[in-house]
Homo-oligomer: 159 residues x 2
Amino acid sequence: MQQIHARALTAEAFAPFGEVIAPRAEPTRIINAGRCERHHALGRVTVEGGEAVISIFRSEGVELPYICRLVERHPLGSQAFMPLGAAPWLSVVAEDAGGRPGAVRAFLVPSRVGLNLRAGVWHGVLTPLGGAADFLVVDREGPGANLEEVEIQPVEIVA
Amino acid sequence: MQQIHARALTAEAFAPFGEVIAPRAEPTRIINAGRCERHHALGRVTVEGGEAVISIFRSEGVELPYICRLVERHPLGSQAFMPLGAAPWLSVVAEDAGGRPGAVRAFLVPSRVGLNLRAGVWHGVLTPLGGAADFLVVDREGPGANLEEVEIQPVEIVA
């Protein structure tokens, strides 16, 4: 079985897949008479032909090594995941190779950091580390086929 | 000075102002081969003539009694606030009275619960209880005047 290492998340490394949702070193602006930092537009929501909805996903946890056997994508909209607890999580994504999933990548997402997957990015299911976890999810609701699932050659993800 | 009590948050009491973002007693559906509950569309994002963006607000905290002197509203879009820590927070909203803020209401929002304010709902600035706190915010970016601020007769909010 192919084995890959989960790598540390950086905005640059994740850029082909989406955006990292975390406070920047400096806020975009100060609001509320000086009492609040706004870190603006860390993620942009796209919902072609639909509307954006806010949901909560409550997922069981996984451990490394973790075997990924299936990826999915949402061609019509972005999908953001923000952890509501303090545990780190694993993000599994894949490059696109002519409309099919290509090389699989895995990122260790630090505590209190979220990700916004761009429309059409292949990704594994939600995989919190260290037990069950809740995530706030911002994605698309609307007509049309917005879910493609593909079984892949299993990939073992190790630390 | 007028004094009002912060009341316990319920979905019914908050319905005139927006939606409560918290897991329901039963998930909408089970996804990811049984490993994940989806609590779907707890909030709906509206962004008239603009796009939805995901930001982080890092706000100083307040304590009760708290005096509210100003409210604002966003006529063109909803605005959702989800705490990223475990502290409870205070939501101050006001009824609309002919295009001006009317009666002020305050809600004690429990730990790990968010709110999605409907477009055009008068509200106070972000007021976490128990110290500074981060919130994930989903709101509108785009052209047009989407902020109205109004100074009001001060209202003292007590527990």
